[in-house]
């Protein structure tokens, strides 16, 4: 009886706590989305009335807004930064996915000297402070005479994205019965055929998940990219950072909301692929 009573008492408290926690997590994000539709051009935290003007302005449309209250004097710059980001993310994702997947397969299927040490090395880029990695990469690129541009950013991103792919794919490989690969060899398939027809299809959800994760992280990275991007190769986060230096203006809410939508789409795709292959 007492437990029933306690449960009655605590259940609403617990639900209330849960709701508060979620609010704590998401309130700032929700505010950003809401205020991206606020027409007040001076104080972005005081609600005036609903408007799409910030979005229209972002894409270079005609709005009643005066020029000096928006950052984006040329939409071309913004789109160029977005283009650079997408190019970098695509190239880095492809490279890191191939490297990370093959490393995971090698670690799972072969035994070699210093394997534990190599495994450890693969975790290091994820825990290394971004600033350290950024400075190290900058010194390396300058020293090696590599031009700071899209290529240097792609190389830089691959150094840590490979680790993420490696971990996601390794988890998938660990759940796989290795006898299935023996069965494939037994039926006449050489190693490449076995990888193509058996291993890859079975780890594909992990590979896709790792790729999507890489894509999001690459699109999102600021600190490391900041060090290794050249003048002519600004990515979206670096570009936005530059804008904010000029003061916070309401337009930033619209940019943030668009990036949020983009991330949610990618994450949903990841969850969709994961559930579709989980039979």
């Amino acid at each position: 009886m007492t437990t029933a009573f306690l449960r009655k008492l605590f259940n609403p408290l617990l639900s209330g706590y849960g709701a508060l926690f979620m609010l704590f997590l998401y309130a700032p994000v929700i505010l950003v989305v809401v205020y991206s539709f606020n027409s007040n051009p001076v104080n972005l935290m005081i609600w005036d009335h609903f408007t799409f003007d910030w979005y229209i302005n972002l894409f270079g449309g005609d709005t009643p807004l005066k020029d000096d209250i928006s950052y984006v004097d040329s939409t071309d710059q913004l789109l160029a930064a977005l283009g650079t980001s997408l190019t970098v993310a695509a190239l880095a994702t492809i490279t890191a996915t191939v490297l990370g997947t093959s490393t995971a397969v090698a670690m799972a299927r072969y035994r070699f000297r210093m394997q534990g040490f190599y495994r450890l090395l693969l975790f290091v880029p994820m825990v290394m402070p971004d600033i350290v990695l950024g400075i190290a990469l900058l010194i390396f690129f300058v020293g090696a005479g590599i031009h700071l541009g899209v290529i240097s950013i792609v190389i830089g991103h691959c150094t840590f994205l490979t680790s993420y792919v490696f971990i996601v794919v390794s988890a998938r490989l660990a759940g796989m019965n290795p006898l299935i690969e023996s069965a494939s060899a037994d039926l006449g398939a050489n190693e490449w055929q076995t990888f193509r027809r058996v291993t890859l299809p079975l780890i594909l959800p992990g590979v896709i998940g790792g790729a999507l994760l890489s894509f999001i992280i690459s699109m999102d990275d600021l600190v490391i990219t900041y060090f290794i991007s050249g003048v002519d190769s600004t990515t979206l986060p670096v570009f936005i950072m530059g804008l904010i230096r000029r003061g916070i203006k309401p337009e930033i809410n619209a940019i943030a909301t668009l990036m949020l939508v983009f991330s949610i789409v990618i994450a949903s795709a990841g969850i969709y692929f994961k559930s579709r292959n989980a039979d």
Partner: protein
């Protein structure tokens, strides 16, 4: 048929050694000098307790494991040089190891697809193989949509569809329930006769081995204890290990006390056992085997007659009805337990009662004491 049988040494294993270094630092002799010859269309079974090296030997033939030293010839050509995917053998795995992402048709057709068999031919052979194992019309299903027994059949079909020269089966029936297992035993045996290829079958179930095999290889600790037909293995075990591992056995150890007329009298810890043997000499230590079904029961007072010598006096401890027969658990005067299988109609005896267990001296098997004998010969 006769041509197929014409290769008695189809697979030759010569002095196969495989040792494993365990993480604790000790050495496991998984295979310790295996010599074996297998005929081309034989149903041969590897039988032995857990850890005796059965799977290791199978994996070496399939190519998933290497040999430390030794040679294996398949059809007179060296097998070990070939990688697993080039060997003309196929395996049925204990856990089936079906491809979870492929449907049944593609699972069975996997080997044919790899070898680039034309679509029409491929589909025909897949259907044939599934029919052979009694599973039609499931091509479109996924492995998880089949029962354990059906998955087992798919694994079988997937192996035989490639027409291997030899089929390796690692405890393929151990996951099935008793009824299904007995049904599959008969089907496997029929399938082997139909295909006419060699089946190398692994089990640790001695009953299964006795039912199915043309010959049985008894392994123990990485060594071959005995190779023989089920009848030889059961009635003339080559070692004490084999006689205890296969079937129920009463073993009497003692020394030969008298020899005459081709009969030897063995004194085993106070009781005397008679056996038919020309080889035994007085004073020689021997072990004798009597199976429970070799006894006949005579209750009560000492029996009269010529065969009175060929009997064991014991006291009944427990009598268990097991269908057609009664299993009698008895104890001899010296405390040694004896197990006897008696027709139920004859078994009207009470626990505690003194009984006589009669046997035919010809049924007593002398277990060769290989090590002991050679030691004796050296001394002589």
């Amino acid at each position: 048929m006769s041509e197929r049988n014409s290769a008695p040494d189809f697979l030759k294993i010569k002095n196969a050694m495989r040792h494993f270094q365990t993480p604790e630092g000790s050495l496991v002799k998984a295979l310790d000098g295996i010599n074996l010859t297998i005929a081309q269309s034989e149903f041969i079974t590897l039988l032995g307790p857990s850890g005796c090296g059965k799977t290791t030997l199978l994996n070496i033939i399939a190519g998933f494991e290497r040999l430390d030293s030794g040679k294996i010839l398949l059809d007179n050509s060296p097998l070990l040089e070939l990688p697993a995917h080039k060997r003309p053998v196929n395996t049925v795995f204990q856990s089936y190891a079906l491809f979870p992402h492929l449907n049944i048709g593609d699972n069975v057709g996997y080997g044919l697809d790899i070898h680039g068999v034309a679509k029409q031919e491929r589909n025909k052979r897949v259907a044939e193989a599934l029919e052979m194992v009694g599973l039609q019309g499931v091509e479109k299903r996924r492995p998880t949509q089949l029962s354990g027994g059906q998955q087992q059949r798919v694994a079988l079909a997937r192996a035989i569809v490639n027409r291997p020269k030899m089929l390796l089966l690692d405890e393929p029936l151990s996951a099935l329930d008793r009824n299904l297992r007995m049904k599959m035993q008969i089907e496997l045996k029929n399938l082997q006769a139909e295909l006419g290829i060699c089946f190398l079958f692994v089990t640790h179930d001695q009953e299964e081995a006795l039912t199915m095999s043309d010959r049985i290889v008894v392994l123990n600790g990485g060594k071959v204890e005995q190779v023989g037909t089920p009848d030889e293995i059961y009635h003339r075990p080559a070692s004490r290990f084999v006689s205890e591992f296969i079937g129920e056995s009463n073993i009497f150890s003692g020394t030969v006390s008298r020899c005459e007329n081709g009969l030897a009298l063995v004194n085993a810890d106070g009781s005397e056992i008679v056996c038919q043997s020309q080889q035994l000499r007085v004073g020689q230590p021997v072990s004798l085997l009597l199976r429970p079904e070799h006894f006949q029961l005579v209750a009560g007072s000492p029996a009269s007659g010529t065969s009175s010598q060929a009997m064991i006096q014991a006291r009944l401890q427990q009598s268990v009805f097991i269908g057609r027969d009664h299993q009698l658990h008895c104890q001899m005067a010296n405390g040694q337990p004896i197990s006897a299988l008696i027709r139920s109609a004859m078994a009207a005896v009470q626990p505690g009662q003194a009984i006589e267990l009669h046997y035919d001296p010809a049924a007593v098997h002398v277990i060769p004491a290989a090590a002991q004998q050679s030691a004796d010969e050296e001394a002589a």
